[in-house]
């Protein structure tokens, strides 16, 4: 009898569910006849994300206190479970968005990779040592590299995949280098052991910390590590962009929070400043660059950079309120982000062309539901009432002010003011353009009905608006999750 370590299968269940879905979808691409392959693999991926979400909810419910597992390589706690839940939700919505895609080849692989990326993220957010951190990061990144390049007939998609691969690999290697330096300084890779090693302001450790922040910054697309974002978001298939913009951000930011708070409490006075500076640069770069975009996907890409800035403000607060603010913010942000890319995807399928502010014109009157939904998402990004975006910003600013970062509040307010211009630009395009100016370039006939996509948009609107009215339950979730961090 060989002694085996005790494995907590429940903690791994979300990851395993998605891995399983990935495997079944892959098998399906060989075994299932072509005419039902698309339906089959989409259904499997959908079921995988739903199952993962259910398991994550169970883990959340049953884990009052965090437990380190498998020689502290990962943690079963509510923070990871909540993040996994959000990732799973984003995955469900992305599958719905992708459903109506008229993809003919590689459809099984597409959904298999989507599920695999989800599995990687769900694992990544529970990582509690530098090795599993890197493993999770590469796991979902590699899946995403391929997904971005999936539309092999489109040059932009190939370019997107290649750019993401090169820049992403650069980011990962910086992260790995940083991990090595931290290991060199402390002789350990576990998050809590790094904190316990207590080596003070060792140069090696600080260099490693800086590199870790930079590496995670690449994934969160925070400026100045955002260079890949607009090109990749623009070129990747829109359903993939939707998934990346929400799920990757959730994973990267939650892990950043966990890593910094658990492993580097001693260096908090340094990394809070670093994060604050990155936040401000992200706000500036994201907002100013978005002002001049005409392509809607690029515009949303820069907008996601600026929102990374807002969420980093919450991390910089380095307080429980800040963690709560971040976790709350991620929920409406994820919904708004997927929802707006879903509308873009619908318009793209209708026009068979990239969506710009020009050919978005009149959407609000032609497609009342999609138009109104996009309106809601833009209001949410702006932080207007009746959307969770307002409450998210309110929490983030409150956390920053309470932590004494009043100038971060000022920067956030100014950034919000600037962002109005381009978000209103989208609303202007869909509602305000005079009829004479509109030259609809419909590819032919009325657009195909796409109920799954409509459902995804509807759910996103429901989350965006619902998170405004039901703040308390969401904040309770966020509080429980934040309680697993040692503040």
């Amino acid at each position: 009898m060989i002694p085996t370590p005790k494995v907590d299968w429940l903690a791994l269940a979300p990851t395993l569910a998605l891995l399983g879905a990935s495997g079944v979808a892959l098998l399906g691409s060989v075994l299932v006849p072509w005419w039902m392959r698309r339906f089959f693999s989409a259904l499997i991926a959908f079921a995988g994300f739903v199952t993962a979400g259910v398991f994550a909810a169970i883990v959340f419910d049953e884990t009052a206190n965090g437990l380190p597992l498998l020689a502290e390589s990962f943690t079963r706690d509510r923070l990871g479970a909540l993040a996994a839940l959000i990732v799973a939700g984003a995955g469900v919505l992305s599958v719905l968005v992708a459903w109506g895609d008229k993809r003919r080849d590689h459809v099984g692989e597409y959904y298999a990779l989507l599920a695999a990326a989800g599995a990687g993220m769900v694992f990544f957010v529970t990582a509690s040592n530098l090795m599993t951190l890197f493993l999770g990061l590469e796991w979902f990144s590699i899946a995403l590299y391929i997904l971005c390049a999936m539309d092999t007939h489109r040059e932009a998609s190939l370019e997107s995949g290649l750019k993401y691969l090169i820049v992403g690999a650069f980011g990962s290697s910086i992260l790995l280098f940083g991990s090595a330096l931290v290991y060199g300084a402390t002789g350990t890779i576990g998050f809590s052991e790094i904190a316990a090693a207590d080596v003070g302001d060792d140069v090696l450790l600080l260099a490693g910390l800086a590199m870790l922040i930079a590496g995670l910054g690449f994934k969160a697309s925070a400026a100045p590590f955002h260079m890949w974002t607009p090109d990749v978001y623009q070129g990747a298939p829109t359903s993939v962009t939707a998934f990346m913009s929400a799920a990757t951000k959730v994973a990267a930011l939650v892990v950043t929070l966990r890593l910094l708070v658990v492993a580097f409490p001693e260096q908090a006075d340094l990394w809070t400043v670093a994060i604050a500076v990155i936040a401000i640069v992200s706000l500036a770069v994201g907002n100013f660059a978005a002002l001049v975009q005409r392509d809607v996907k690029r515009l949303l890409a820069y907008s996601s950079v600026s929102h990374a800035g807002f969420m980093l403000i919450a991390i910089a607060a380095n307080s429980e309120l800040g963690a709560r603010a971040l976790l709350y913010y991620l929920i409406p942000y994820g919904a708004m982000s997927i929802g707006s890319f879903a509308v873009v995807a619908a318009r793209e399928r209708e026009l068979q062309a990239p969506v710009t502010l020009d050919n978005l014109g009149g959407l609000g009157w032609e497609r009342p539901f999609l138009g109104a939904a996009l309106w809601v998402f833009m209001l949410g990004f702006m932080g207007m009432p009746l959307t969770g975006g307002l409450i998210g910003k309110f929490y983030v600013f409150s956390a920053a002010y309470e932590a004494g970062w009043w100038w971060l509040v000022v920067a956030g307010v100014i950034a919000t003011a600037i962002s109005l211009y381009y978000y209103l630009g989208v609303i202007r395009a869909i509602y305000l353009r005079p009829a004479a100016e509109l030259r609809p370039a419909i590819a032919g006939g009325s657009p195909p009905l796409d109920p799954p996509l409509q459902v995804a948009v509807f759910l996103s609107v429901a989350v965006t608006v619902g998170s405004f009215f039901f703040v308390q339950p969401l904040i309770d979730l966020a509080r429980d999750a934040a309680a697993s961090l040692p503040f």
């Binding site: 009432p385 002010y401 509040v409 209103l424 305000l432």
Partner: protein
């Protein structure tokens, strides 16, 4: 009760948006909902005891860790402001229903949404709730002007939104600082603050909304490019959100900074009053005159508020209601004139009184009330304001009185340029008089003005309880 007043128009807006009704039917449904809202408001007045402070409260915790709750209720003065809102918005919806126009469902839904959020502003007793409604007003206004406005509407909406959002974002920062330092965002539970920066944040937001000189850059474009009924709501009601904010937040929560900045604020308000009056006298069209007169009146109302005594504040409330009704009527009349002549520019107007007795009577009555002829409600309001500010310094009331003379000048100029003089080139001989339905829309406003003229004390003695307020916040 209060929640019902807020939710009814919002819910009706959703219904109007969703139901696939033809244009007129959607308008009729909206009008029905608006009339129900007026009835509801009348019931609320019936239940209200004007000798007491906050009433008809609804309070539910929204999120507890930062101490934010959904808390709404009425004071005497906010009940009047809400009444102004429901009346003017109902009239505006009626006018829009009559005037027709395309995309009627969207239009009427937005008007109802606007109505609900303005009522929300006047009832908010929690800072975040106030901010939510204050911002929510912007959403329908942006689309209403942007889609249904005049030829230069895109510029008008952009200017309007940038001005007001810059103000409100400052307010958001101020709210956060104020709320966190007080440990609650409730306007009822929080004490006073002496933080100058927070004070200025709030003040700026309301100064833009009012507008108070020199933050009036958005004013003329927005009022000129809006559809007439939207301009009526904007100048008549939306600007009063600033009055509520100044009174409920700035004056009550920041007594020390208010005292410190009183002369500065009064100086800006007075400059605005005189400057806007002169501009109104120079404006080349009905809308321009009404827009600048609106700004002048807001200056006067601000003077009343910052006299910081009972006379001045109650005068400001009376004047708010009076000006709301007057300016809504004037914009609707401008709309009617534009419908007949295609212009509101004085260059093409004139001589419209001949053969159009009803138009002449209505415009004349409103104009005379607007110029504060003794016996009118506007006179009552201005008198109270001037009497109030006399207690602060006689110089202010002299300037204020001078502005009344200016008001007479620009209103008489407007009346004569539209009704008298030679027949303008855009006025065709057979342009009809005011039609019965139009009359039905305007008469309630004018009738209300006349009733209030006969009995201004109905408001002035039932609005701001000065003693109680100053006891409550020592």
């Amino acid at each position: 009760m209060t929640t019902a007043l807020i939710v009814l128009p919002l819910a009706a807006a959703l219904v109007v948006w969703m139901l696939p009704l033809p244009g007129r039917a959607a308008g009729a449904l909206a009008l029905l909902a608006a009339l129900a809202e007026v009835t509801l408001w009348a019931v609320a007045v019936g239940q209200f005891d004007f000798a007491q402070g906050l009433q008809l409260e609804d309070r539910h915790s929204w999120f507890s860790d930062l101490g934010v709750s959904y808390h709404v209720g009425f004071f005497g003065y906010s009940l009047w402001l809400a009444g102004l809102t429901v009346v003017v918005c109902t009239i505006a919806i009626a006018f829009a229903t009559w005037a027709g126009g395309d995309r009627s469902r969207g239009y009427h839904g937005l008007l109802l949404f606007l109505m609900g959020s303005i009522v929300g502003v006047f009832t908010a007793q929690d800072l975040l709730v106030f901010y939510v409604f204050f911002e929510a007003m912007l959403i329908p206004i942006y689309v209403l002007i942007g889609v249904w406005g005049g030829p230069r509407r895109l510029r008008a909406t952009a200017t309007f939104v940038i001005y007001t959002m810059a103000g409100s974002l400052l307010m958001l920062a101020a709210i956060i600082v104020f709320g966190l330092s007080q440990d609650t965002f409730s306007l009822v539970d929080s004490g006073v603050s002496s933080n100058d920066w927070v004070f200025l944040g709030f003040l700026l937001a309301f100064a833009v909304k009012a507008p108070i000189f020199p933050f009036h850059g958005w004013l003329v474009d927005a009022y000129r490019e809006s559809p007439p009924e939207v301009a009526a709501i904007l100048s008549g009601v939306v600007s009063k959100a600033a009055v509520y904010g100044l009174l409920r937040i700035v004056i009550e929560k920041f007594p020390q900074p208010v005292e410190q900045f009183q002369s500065t604020i009064l100086a800006f308000a007075t400059i605005g009053l005189i400057y806007a009056s002169v501009l109104a006298f120079r404006a080349p069209d009905i809308r321009g005159v009404t827009a600048y007169s609106s700004m002048a009146q807001m200056g006067l109302i601000t003077i009343g508020l910052f006299s910081l005594n009972e006379l001045g504040i109650n005068g400001a409330i009376v004047q708010s209601v009076a000006h709301g009704l007057v300016s809504a009527t004037l914009f609707l009349l401008a709309g009617m004139v534009e419908l007949r002549t295609g212009t509101s520019s004085f260059a093409g107007l004139g001589g419209m009184a001949r053969g159009r007795p009803v138009l002449a009577t209505v415009l004349m009555t409103t104009g005379i009330i607007a110029l504060a002829v003794p016996g009118s409600v506007a006179f009552a309001g201005e008198f109270l304001i001037l009497a109030g500010i006399y207690g602060v310094g006689w110089g202010w009331s002299v300037i204020g009185a001078a502005a009344i003379v200016l008001a007479a000048m620009y209103m008489l100029r407007l009346i004569s340029a539209v009704l008298h003089t030679a027949r303008g080139r855009d006025v065709s001989e057979d342009a009809p008089d005011v039609r019965p339905f139009e009359l039905a829309v305007v008469v309630p406003l004018v009738a209300l003005l006349l009733v209030l003229s006969a009995w201004p004390a109905s408001i002035s003695e039932r609005s701001y309880l000065f003693e109680q307020q100053s006891e409550a916040s020592p």
